[in-house]
Amino acid sequence: MSAGENRILFKNIDQPGYGRDIDSYMAAGGYETLKKAVGMKPEEICSEVMDSGIRGRGGAGFPAGMKWKFLDRKSGKPIYLVCNADESEPGTFKDRQIIYKDPHQLIEGMMISAYGTQTALAFIYIRGEMYEGARILEEAIEEARAKNFLGDNILGSGYSCDLIVHRGAGAYICGEETGLIESIEGKRPYPRIKPPYFPAVLGLYMCPTIVNNVETLCHVKHVIERGGKEYAKIGKPGNTGTRIWSVSGHVQKPGYYEIECGAMTYGELINDLCGGLRPGRKLKAIIPGGSSSKVLRADERFTGKLKDGTEFDWGVGDIPLDFDSPMAAGTMSGSGAVIVMDDSTDIVGALANINAFYAHESCGQCTPCREGSLWLKKVTARMIAGEAREEDADLLKSIADQIEGRTICAHGEATAWPVQSFILKFRDEFIEYARKQAAERKAKNAQPAAVA
């Protein structure tokens, strides 16, 4: 653990001698909180989670307690709990650490959440590529079942709930909660239209369903362990607890860092925890919360007022690591994936890479995202292939504008935001890119033809 980190979820991960088996976990105090939880009333669990103020760690940052409160309990239908372990946002590699290195923490968090919401059946929807992770989880589930931490009559409480690992087939869109639900149902993961298909009312098999991220469900364990109000003291009001940041790109020490919300800034994360940039390099841009979040330019300044009224005047490095501050800076903390780009970065190439990803992962259900994402990809692919035009910058922006806010799910925004922000912040570089290519072509054509 590096100085400045506050490891709660990752307390045991990477510790010498700590294995992913149930003995290691229990030796470190594992499943004690589940024992505590089944002695409480389910509604007490829910209110502790509400008190904790914990926000979803999957990307949207929606308060988990509120999500649970929306559950339709009048319908009489069974309630399902689904753990979203489809971690696929480029740059994000936090959930897989838990799954691979501390699976019992997730299981304990899930069973507490299941008990609290009185779930009939719980699922872990795991990304198809994480084959090993699925195997590890299944092993861990059997270990936990042998000790009656899940299954029938959990710890003699009278409450029964089973846990099923469901592997995806390798599609980013399965991380969208309604797409994920369709996928579990065995269909194409076309996200559902909301309204009316809010998972809390019409979710899996048209029953009330909670879909939470791996990290979020693990936090539930610590919320119950400490008590919601006590947990809320970690971090800042409205931005409680710790967050795991996945840092990649041009830093000396890329990796995952668990930091108390608001305790550090992006600058401190990059320069202190990650050892700064490579020697002789200058920061060019940061993608602050997964590839779909809007890019920040190294020399940008952000001013304005926060929700609580305090005024801010930040450089990129000054933005606090929490939920609200990146949002105030016009972007988002998303999945906590920080992608650092130094001055060696070809910004058009970077966008071409991102565009290729979102075009490949568009499910194809609704028109703007389906056609727009591939068009964006084709434009940037042409640009880096040497056929850039000056007007491409504005064309890209216009295509993105025609996608944003007009799609069934947030994949539209995920596709549009990088393009909009790249063009907004690096427009000159896109135009220069085209001019340079034009000049090169001209020079090439001007050369006398080689003698045969």
Binding site: I193, P195, L202, A359, G364, C366, T367, E371, S373
Partner: protein
């Protein structure tokens, strides 16, 4: 297929005007009532909501209420403030509610449509000159109405399969497909034969049949009708005729007693296709594939066009007068009536029957019910035959009763209407024993033996009405003229009735039939042909309701209600 009853109304505001609309409808339907077109591709009134084309994006707002108190928030003019949604909303998905505000003509809405049109066309082949859909293509129409007019797309278009044979009657051009999923939903929700789906993803998504499956349902051509573009085309119709040359005439499918409402499309006396005509009380917007093929009887190879008397050619009038002579001379007449005949034809035939005290026989043509639009009774007008008094018992399985009467010498003259006597139970000896007057559209061995042969017109060449299995009186109109010189059954029966009664043959029109129908038949009182609405009219079944008709399944279904129920979605949610 349920008739919408009178429902409660709500007031919504569309582009600044308050409009009263029925509760429970969607914004897109409300806008239609208000006379505002909301363009759409994936939305279909008879299918579940998919919301994928995004063409129907509108601005939507609700009257504001204070979150804490629930009190309405008022503006300076004392009107309730409208909280406009930050993003445009699809009009096909949201139900109307009191005070709902919709804007369909703002810059944002126009920009949305413009953007969607551009997106739909970037990978579209733009091959309208060789596309069968041209002229009735939503892509063409909306590109003209809402498109940019030029393309900013200079990249290479996607390449997809161009001529996938999905089934015996439908062919697919995947490059034209805009992935609206109407066909997939139709096959799943209405035809109950889910064989279509998408493979691949993103812009490379491709419509196809599931492995080992075929689009061979008897409803497969409905997917062609509802395809908003030229992706799915009818193998029978494609490349035959430009649709703008075609004129359509309202008709009724004669395939069964379901009586699907149809449009028959012709040019210069030749029929090219039959499509369903929406009637929510009968067939929604669907019809069978087999019903669409019926127009081929017009140009059937064995079509009869030459009237004959004793084997020699005659004019139609001569044939009728020869027939009337035969009928006049006999008092042992049997009429083999047809439930293919229209109400009007049956009416005049029953006059003849009553005048000559003829015995009446009819043969049932039954088949398996498919639970949708193919009913057990494979004739269109059995109920009409009861109402006009032509028959009083259900048609029998065959003509063995008539055979016995012939054998017993009780019958020496038979007027056969649209039945091939040999095919329905009479032996050659029995046919030879009687004087046969045959009315038919196609040649058969027994027709060739007739003393008088009167070729007849198909349903596409005459007008009239049928009573379907719901006791719904529905009218059909002549689409093309019949073969030269032939008389309609209506004229033939009217002349025979008049001549055998000692009168003179006069030219009759449908109006003449209805003048006497509406005065003589209680169920049809006060009706005239022209007053029957295009969507038909329910006739009180009266005592006929107790007849054990062969149809076991009713025509009532509403796919969308069915889907909602299956998903456990209540109206309230």
């Amino acid at each position: 297929m349920s008739e919408k009853g009178q429902t409660d109304k709500v007031t919504v505001n569309i582009d600044g005007k308050d409009v009263d609309v029925p509760t429970g409808i969607t914004m897109i339907e409300a806008a239609e009532i208000a006379g505002k077109e909301v363009p759409h591709y994936c939305y279909h009134p008879k299918l579940s909501i998919s919301g994928n084309c995004r063409m129907c994006l509108v601005e939507m707002g609700m009257p504001m209420r204070d979150r804490a108190t629930g009190e309405p928030v008022m503006d300076d003019d004392g009107k309730q403030k409208i909280g406009w949604m930050p993003k445009p909303a699809i009009a096909c998905n949201s139900k109307v509610s009191p005070g709902l505000h919709i804007k369909t003509d703002t810059d944002l809405v126009k920009d949305c449509r413009n953007g969607i049109m551009e997106f739909l066309l970037v990978n579209h082949p733009l091959d309208c000159p060789i596309c069968d859909q041209a002229g009735e293509c939503r892509l063409q129409e909306f590109a003209t109405d809402y498109g940019r007019g030029f393309s900013r797309f200079i990249e290479e278009k996607n390449v997809k399969p161009k001529r996938t044979v999905l089934g015996p009657r439908v062919i697919l051009d995947d490059e034209r497909c805009i992935l609206c999923s109407r066909c997939i939903r139709f096959m799943d929700e209405v035809a109950d034969d889910p064989v279509l789906g998408f493979t691949e993803r993103g812009s490379y998504s491709t419509l196809t049949c599931f492995p080992g499956k075929n689009l061979d349902s008897n409803y497969s051509l409905n997917t062609v009708d509802i395809c908003p573009v030229g992706a799915l085309t009818s193998r029978d119709f494609r490349f035959k005729m430009r649709v703008w040359f075609l004129k359509s005439v309202k008709s009724i499918c004669t395939e069964s007693s379901a009586g699907a409402n149809t449009e028959v499309w012709q040019r210069e006396g030749k029929i090219y296709r039959i499509t369903p005509r929406r009637n929510d009380a009968v067939n929604d917007t669907w019809m069978t594939d087999s019903g669409r093929a019926l127009y081929k009887q017009v140009e059937a190879e064995n079509r009869l066009v030459q009237p004959k008397v004793n084997g020699g050619s005659a004019s139609a009038t001569e044939a009728v007068s020869a027939a009337s002579k035969i009928l006049k001379e006999s008092d042992k007449i049997a009429v083999v009536a047809s439930t293919h005949s229209s109400v009007e034809e049956q009416h005049f035939l029953s006059k003849l029957v009553r005048g000559k005290k003829a015995k009446v026989h009819a043969v049932a043509h039954l088949g398996e019910e498919d639970g949708l639009l193919l009913s057990a009774d494979r004739t269109p007008n059995t109920r009409g035959a009861f109402i006009t008094g032509l028959i009083s018992e259900l048609p029998s399985a065959d003509l063995s009763a008539l055979g016995s009467q012939i054998d017993a010498g009780e019958v020496d003259t038979v007027l056969a209407v649209h039945e091939d006597l040999a095919a329905v139970g009479l032996s050659d000896e029995q046919i030879d024993k009687v004087k046969l007057i045959q009315i038919a559209t196609v040649s058969t061995p027994s027709a060739e033996k007739a003393a008088v042969l009167i070729p007849s017109l198909t349903v596409f060449e005459r007008s009239g009405s049928f009573v379907n299995q719901q006791f719904r009186l529905q009218k059909f109109h002549a689409v093309v003229p019949g073969p030269a010189g032939l008389l309609s059954d209506l004229q033939v029966f009217a002349s025979l009735a008049a001549l055998t009664a000692g009168g003179v043959s006069e030219s009759v029109r449908l109006k003449d039939a209805w003048d006497s129908l509406s005065s003589e038949i209680e169920e049809l009182q006060g009706l005239q042909f022209r007053t029957i609405p295009d969507e038909g009219l329910a006739v009180p079944p009266g005592n006929f309701a107790n007849i054990p008709f062969p149809e076991k399944k009713s025509l009532k279904f509403d796919s969308r209600e069915f889907v909602r129920e299956a998903m456990g979605v209540s109206e309230a949610s």
